[in-house]
Amino acid sequence: MLALAALPLAFVGLFFVFPVAAILVRGLAPNGVLDLAVPLQVLARPQTRDIAWFTFWQAALSTLLTLAVGLPGAYVLARFNFPGRRLLNALVLVPFVLPTVVVGSAFLALIGPNGALGVRLDHTIWAILAAHVFYNCGVVLRVVGGVWSQLDPRTEEVARVLGASRWRAFRQVTWPLLRPAVVSAASIVFLFCFTSFGVILILGGTAYATIEVAIYRAAAVLLDLPAAATLALVQLVFLAVLLVVYSRLQARAAVGQRLTGARVAARPPRGRNEWAIVGATVALLLIFLGLPIAALVERALAGSSGYGLDNFSALFGESARGALFVAPVEAISNSLFFAAAATAICLPLGLLAAAVIAYRRGALATAFDALLMLPLGTSAVIVGFGFLVSLGQLPIDLRTSVVLIPIAHALVALPFVVRATVPLLRSIDRRLREAAAVLGASPARTWRMVDLPMVGRALLVGGSFAFAVSLGEFGATLFIARPSAPTMPIAIFRLLSQPGTLAFGQAMAMATVLMAVTAIAALAFDRLRTTSVGGT
């Protein structure tokens, strides 16, 4: 069985471990021997400290704000049943699957120079924070809301009967049971905000830089590779610490986790107060999550002569001011092609890996699982930078090869595909096969009638996930995309960096197309994942 792991291991080793190791060598031993002079000098710069500090506090503040917006929503979605609840539950996930470039574009459409609101907030911390909350709110809603809806409301009621006030019952009963989910969601949000790249690059202007952005600027703009390598080291250390803290928190929070079974805890709101709470929360969520998307579509449709499809048809013409070497529409076909290729690479690797993790238990399988998750915990920028640093050293110089982009995308998508398919494979209940056999099915027929439909589902789920991730991938692609073959996110970014209404209109139109394609892929995934075929 572990032989199946060889291919995914080789892939991750060659395209992740090796490039990251190359960055380490580059940073710590540029001439083959350990030499800390450059890293220490880079670390001593005040900008480096500023960047690290900014990265930390913006992530912390974004996380707090995301919780502040998400927790009331999670409560309402978990505890109340109201018309449109299922739809809302699906919609809140949409921002999370949107590419960061689309999120950045949407906020520019809302509060940028030509923004729909007429208030300019781009190049301010407020735009960054708002975009982070918009992007990550769905994580809190889903993770915390999921657990909250499984908590037996009667434990809180029994506390009330035993003399606890509403607040005390929440603090002493609900909160301890909810805390692991909140910690988990907050950690994920913090990680995403800490490694935020596209949003900061687009909304922060030159004034704000996270470590990710600083790595990119040092490597690709200033061509200061030693500085970039040092910053990448700093980022890797931070991420390692984050992951350790996270697993500690998880281990501690998991003590005494629930024993109540899943009951349907949601009930219709009663009385004016409850309807007011539900109504206000839902309205705020819809406004907050819907407004940027609406602004993006509105800006895309707003041409020089009223509303129309001018911006979309302009995608077929030349790009404004030569932002791209090709017509913007080519980026669409490039993206679709790369996404298909990335899916084709990622899917067999992901399924092999998922099969190993699903059917094997034990230390080896756990270590393998952790290794595959690493690219997720690291960052796309480091992957892209690592490619740039390392792949020139291979016998075949892949840096100019067109396969590099799908490989990078497949690497970034791999953890998602594995995470999405492992539960599906584990869910094939042994008893289903036994039942089929007892009913007279031959082994071949059992495989065809029982296993295949479920593995087929896993393929679809993993495939749609890989496709969506590839469509939106920005950080790694920015390092390795050739100017003549931009992807949609790259094209949007280049168009946004040009002044003028034509470029802006084309960027908005392209972002709208990208949003639509990703949302469709993601909603299809959500459908496939949640409608069950059998087993649990």
């Binding site: 009621e157 029994v158 506390a159 009330r160 009967v161």
Partner: protein, 341 residues
């Protein structure tokens, strides 16, 4: 004491409780009996203050409870499958209601030990909830409800989640405990045996409405209507006509000393009141025989073809038992015949 006047609770448009009026006196044990969905749990939740009333009022010692929030009512409520706090150990669960009343730690520990002993779990304080068996969880839930000395104890299907053997043993223990506590008590169940064993009086709920409240023994001896009779397991309700002391059923006619009340059209014949008798007044053909250990249940259809089945419960060890298809005659003990309005 507790007094419910015309209490209604609505879930949306659907009434879960519909004009229920009840009283529970000092130290009285009231059993509430009803099928699932009859509003039994809603009744307890309404008294506890967990469900807003859509009509009526609930008083305690003449004071309207409408403005009193749940946590200030000082009632004990034990939920079906217990709702123990999974993040607290046994002592932590039991102490919860004492903590909210700001009892001193030493006093708290003393009381926790006291109620754990009372429910038969001395020394269990440090156990984790998921290490307990179903019966132990049930006792912890009871101890938790008792610890703050509530002025009223409500139990929602306290034995519902347990298996049959444990149930009857715990039922005996509970009735003994309740007798010692001298605490007003509302005991909700769908099991007639439990209701009759626990309740001084038994209230029967059906679709949110109160069918009757009667002393347990009276209810069993004279159920006021067919629904109550059937729910008590008295299913031998058969159609009849009554003229001048002669009661005519599809199986034949009986002489009865009593006359039926008003417009009665059916009569309850207790299965154990029937016995095989070659010269008995009732006749029919055996359509099914089910051996049940001590007793054997025999279903008898009227001799002249199809119709309702008459259930006779015969002692298995007494004489020959009939077989399916046999023609039989039955005698009836008059004490087992009851007219239903």
């Amino acid at each position: 004491m507790l007094r419910l006047e015309n209490v209604s609770v609505a879930y949306g448009a659907r009434p879960a409780l519909d004009g229920v009026s009840l009283e529970v006196g000092a130290g009285e044990r009231l059993a509430v009996l009803g099928p699932s969905g009859s509003g039994k749990s809603t009744l307890l939740r309404a008294i506890a203050g967990l469900e807003p009333l859509s009509g009526g009022r609930i008083d305690w010692d003449g004071q309207n409870l409408a403005g009193v929030p749940v946590h200030l009512r000082n009632f004990g409520l034990m939920f079906q499958d217990y709702a123990l706090f999974p993040h607290r150990d046994v002592a932590g669960n039991v102490a919860f209601g004492l903590e909210t009343r700001a009892a001193a730690p030493a006093q708290r520990r003393g009381r926790v030990a006291e109620v754990l002993t009372l429910v038969g779990l001395p020394g269990y304080g440090a156990r984790r909830i998921d290490q307990l068996s179903g019966g132990e969880q049930q006792r912890v839930a009871l101890a938790r409800a008792l610890a703050p000395t509530p002025r009223l104890l409500m139990l929602d299907e306290p034995l519902g989640a347990l298996d049959r053997g444990l149930r009857s043993r715990l039922l005996d223990e509970l009735t003994g405990l309740f007798a010692r506590l001298a605490l007003p008590l509302i005991y909700v169940t769908h099991d007639q045996e439990e209701a009759l064993a626990v309740g001084d009086r038994v209230a029967v709920l059906n679709q949110g409405r109160l069918e009757t409240v009667m002393a347990a023994r009276d209810l069993w001896l004279a159920p006021p209507n067919e629904f109550v009779a059937r729910f008590l397991g008295l299913t031998n309700v058969v159609p009849m006509e009554w003229t001048d002391g002669l009661l005519t059923t599809p199986w034949g006619s009986l002489e009865t000393p009593d006359s039926p009340p008003g417009q009665a059209t059916s009569v309850l014949i207790r299965p154990e009141a029937l016995a095989l008798d070659p010269i008995g007044p009732l006749a029919g053909v055996v359509s099914a025989v089910a051996f049940r250990g001590d007793t054997t249940t025999v279903l008898v259809r009227p001799a002249n073809g199809d119709g309702p089945r008459l259930e006779a419960r015969l002692r298995s060890v007494m004489g020959e038992l009939p077989e399916v298809g046999d023609s039989v005659r039955l005698n009836v003990d008059q004490a087992g015949v009851l007219f239903l309005p």
